[in-house]
Symmetry: D2
Subunit: 342 residues, 4 copies
Amino acid sequence: MISFTCDYNEGAHPAILERLLATNFIQQPGYGADSFTASAKARIRECIGRPEAEVFLLTGGTQTNSTVIATMLRDYQGVVAATTGHIAVHEAGAVEYTGHKVLTIPQHQGKMKAEELKAYLEGYYADGSYDHMVFPGMVYISFPTEYGTLYSKAELSAIYDVCREYSLPLFVDGARLGYGLMSPACDVSIQELAGLCDVFTIGGTKVGALCGEAVVFPSGKAPEHFFTMVKQHGALLAKGRLLGVQFDTLFTDGLYFQIAQGAIDLAMQVKKLFLDKGYELFLDSPTNQQFILLTPAAAKALEGKVAYEVWEHLADGRAVVRFATSWATTQEHVSQLSALLP
Amino acid sequence: MISFTCDYNEGAHPAILERLLATNFIQQPGYGADSFTASAKARIRECIGRPEAEVFLLTGGTQTNSTVIATMLRDYQGVVAATTGHIAVHEAGAVEYTGHKVLTIPQHQGKMKAEELKAYLEGYYADGSYDHMVFPGMVYISFPTEYGTLYSKAELSAIYDVCREYSLPLFVDGARLGYGLMSPACDVSIQELAGLCDVFTIGGTKVGALCGEAVVFPSGKAPEHFFTMVKQHGALLAKGRLLGVQFDTLFTDGLYFQIAQGAIDLAMQVKKLFLDKGYELFLDSPTNQQFILLTPAAAKALEGKVAYEVWEHLADGRAVVRFATSWATTQEHVSQLSALLP
Amino acid sequence: MISFTCDYNEGAHPAILERLLATNFIQQPGYGADSFTASAKARIRECIGRPEAEVFLLTGGTQTNSTVIATMLRDYQGVVAATTGHIAVHEAGAVEYTGHKVLTIPQHQGKMKAEELKAYLEGYYADGSYDHMVFPGMVYISFPTEYGTLYSKAELSAIYDVCREYSLPLFVDGARLGYGLMSPACDVSIQELAGLCDVFTIGGTKVGALCGEAVVFPSGKAPEHFFTMVKQHGALLAKGRLLGVQFDTLFTDGLYFQIAQGAIDLAMQVKKLFLDKGYELFLDSPTNQQFILLTPAAAKALEGKVAYEVWEHLADGRAVVRFATSWATTQEHVSQLSALLP
Amino acid sequence: MISFTCDYNEGAHPAILERLLATNFIQQPGYGADSFTASAKARIRECIGRPEAEVFLLTGGTQTNSTVIATMLRDYQGVVAATTGHIAVHEAGAVEYTGHKVLTIPQHQGKMKAEELKAYLEGYYADGSYDHMVFPGMVYISFPTEYGTLYSKAELSAIYDVCREYSLPLFVDGARLGYGLMSPACDVSIQELAGLCDVFTIGGTKVGALCGEAVVFPSGKAPEHFFTMVKQHGALLAKGRLLGVQFDTLFTDGLYFQIAQGAIDLAMQVKKLFLDKGYELFLDSPTNQQFILLTPAAAKALEGKVAYEVWEHLADGRAVVRFATSWATTQEHVSQLSALLP
């Protein structure tokens, strides 16, 4: 049985495990004060072309999102997200647990629209009782989104313009950032992205690491004493070297992007496979998550041989399903899928 | 330069890294639903002799403590700890961040006394205005303590008796549990410990793992939907296999205890070394952390060659310092220390 | 200038002030242990026909809602409300501040539908990843709603049936309860209401008191140590007598209901006035808040003479406005409005 | 039976009730936008001689303390208080509920010492692991303290100097401020106090009001959107006029201070009474709370006739008790006590 269920089904890219082995007995201080972490941060700053950036390595996605959001908001503020935003749906209320509301606006294939964001903010301040409501305090988008879709450079810029007009920081959740940047449909570079937001994350967990997300403040304006709050919010590791070694490896010789490129190439093959065999897409995703309308016949053919994630059962018998590729997906996996798919 | 600064200066026990390599491409579901985690849990239940136990694997110490405490308390309750308890001092206010007060009682070389706990509880309920105060809702102790000391079985039993008299769950923070259990001074087994508390942790980070703490509810009474709250509190990993593989390895063929035994043997050598050379102990620790009163001459002799942690400078010129051994400490390290120490 | 802006524009019903004067120097213990509070609670229990009920008197609406919700939910749970629910919109994020998400479902003139509630709950538990989401932990409705509308007994029963099927407590926010119960459209008595929910409030502030809301647990199952949590959440008064005297007065000889009846009678006159003069209703409210589509001509005629609340400006020049009557509204006020309205 | 139990045993000063009656039907907007509140704020600014001050009126003491503290701290900070500070002991963990630790230093008859505060702060920053701890973020003192004692101007200045050296705002809890300022032992005026802290409260509840505390930011630097956070934290009233009328009355023609002066005069009589009859003071309080060591004979003589608060029973049979006077205490009450006391 092979699995396209998600992009965290395997361990880590072999280069990461090798590096963990090679560095295992080098004694280093804890809590991110190790030399591997220092090197990883330097490489990330270099990669995005911003020596002034501040970089932090945290354990996982949910804790990263809630830590970033909680530490950038004041008590009276909430975070604006699309209704399908990960923080709004699938993080067990971690943001609310820090005391902040997730303020939702409509989604379009997982994306918010700059004009709807602006209309929301205008409507908020036009409401005479706005100081009895939760103030919009920052904007959250994911890149790629939960549906695998991408914002174009123009869309990102338009959103960021609205944010700046209202003095709201823009937070880009890059849990799958690599898969977004390497998509043929992507017209924004990581350097450009760094200039179009106030904070973004570089997801490790889903792009070849065992765990870990890098939080990047491109202009160096991290919340004061962010380290202490990372610990307080549960996102710190004693052996920070585990995160340091991984990100240092991922950002050496472009491994992070190579890994992502491989997954994207195979995802495009998967998409073509389904289209060629006459399946309909639920939506046209340019990244590593492909959403297909699977027929009962296909489901039966794959049963026990190929795993994927079911999102929804439609009235016509078909199911909306997700096939995800990752750094660990192989050409062989795709060939097997091709052979099995009716 | 060699370091005795702490027990998280290196990576992981080689057996763990080998196992991570060996299992790397086995596809498994995320969030702890993998087979390695299942196996680890089974081994831990078997080790403590309690098939009814519930076991969870979390990322790190602070997040584990605050998750356990927050999920076992009601809003009106706080957690009772010794003034030197880790949660009371060195966790960046993570417990308070969940809304709960840490109620402190006196410490004696890091330990609380059953009679003082009882006096505190009696005094609390004797106070006519107690319902304007924070109710004691659970009791937290560390084993070993932050000073490396251990509760005897009689002391543990006495504390647990008080807890049961007042219907308070007892939580034993075992961040360094292995080093406690393998101490020559320890008269309690892990099976007995499991019967003397309501929840305890088995620390991985400081005993050979890259990261991870096992939370054990010996009688199986975990808070309802603990999984969801672990995610909400930031202590969950998407690749739960990372924790599963590690604890499965640690609890195969007694590796966890062997690792701890080695560190304890070397810690006893370190202690003897200092005593033989005429140094005074700050306190007599039976575990892997040794607290020494270091003379300026010794500090000078070790400078740049042996690292350790300084706790406090005394008026007489000496310093209270900590030498910690770990699973990674070698006989060679101790020999070098011996050679250098005046 | 007379005001129909809201129902908290004046002080208190004269009987309340007289009673405060009469009792002013009677020495009584603080924090709700006074005899007035005891009497008020007894009267409320008698009024709803439930000797087993537990009653608490809190300072104001927002603090009451957030205290009730936070103390009845566990960390992993949120509260389900209509998108227009007061807690979802106009309480400054007070519920989220306690760590809990407000889970919204569609509103229909301010009301939720039992079948949509059920569909939401079914959908929630049908979602394979529900334990990564916020569990629905209770249901909140307002009676009357924020739009002045009322649930019929059948609607209430249907919602309560769904709640019981899913073991979710039902919380009825009665900030304007009196105005709901005294509406000609209301087919549920306070005794029946008490049997159709797990907790409800009797609003004092908007029905003749200076401040105060009574929280009623009809079956006596208040959260343990609710008193302490009321204090912790900021909803307690040292001089609990202020609340006790007010609710004791309101529930003596049916004053609470008489007050509400008077306001309802005048509200029906206001509605008729607008309809008779050809104005359109924004929605047909059977309670003390009337929502009218006001023409520019009318707005001009009332300017500087009659105050009301503007909710929204429509493209056709008209405005959605609210005229609210209260215990303090007089026949003279309505006559003036009638004389001025073109 | 007469009661000296506390200073919130009666209703309100008659002048307040009269004013509530006189203003009852004047229509005014809610939430503190009324003219009475505006006038009260202006009078308080004038009283302290600071036109730039920002003033807010909140419902009660605990909610005021936790709102001020939570809104002035960042997530990584706690508030420093004496171990006997009200927020540290008797507020049901309301501060911790907002996520912040109360950091305690020793008390001396209820007061902290500037040099011990400084030593604490020095020790904190000298600790190499301070960023794993809770940062001291503000300092809280009460004036008078929970033991009725007062800081001298020199003591206040010394504490404020330390605060400024460490850039920590100083918060003075004046729940009984009037009784402090009118004490014969007080050498600081309200104008001077306003210059020796960053925020202070003027307690209404214990000095003649039905409820309410004024929060004063003498230099006008209230936290942004403080109003919204007051609502979020449960300390707002819809009928803000209730607080406005009361503080407007208290600060008209010096009523607040006259009320306090009366209580202080009687408290000094009570103290003299006990001393003249040979009773020992538990401590020598210069304000309206007198702490006496009461003999069993006296307790018996007063039983059923005079109420007071028992703090502690001593081994020698005596009890530490509190006799509190208030705005409502009369010469007749003191005479009765005198006649009954053996």
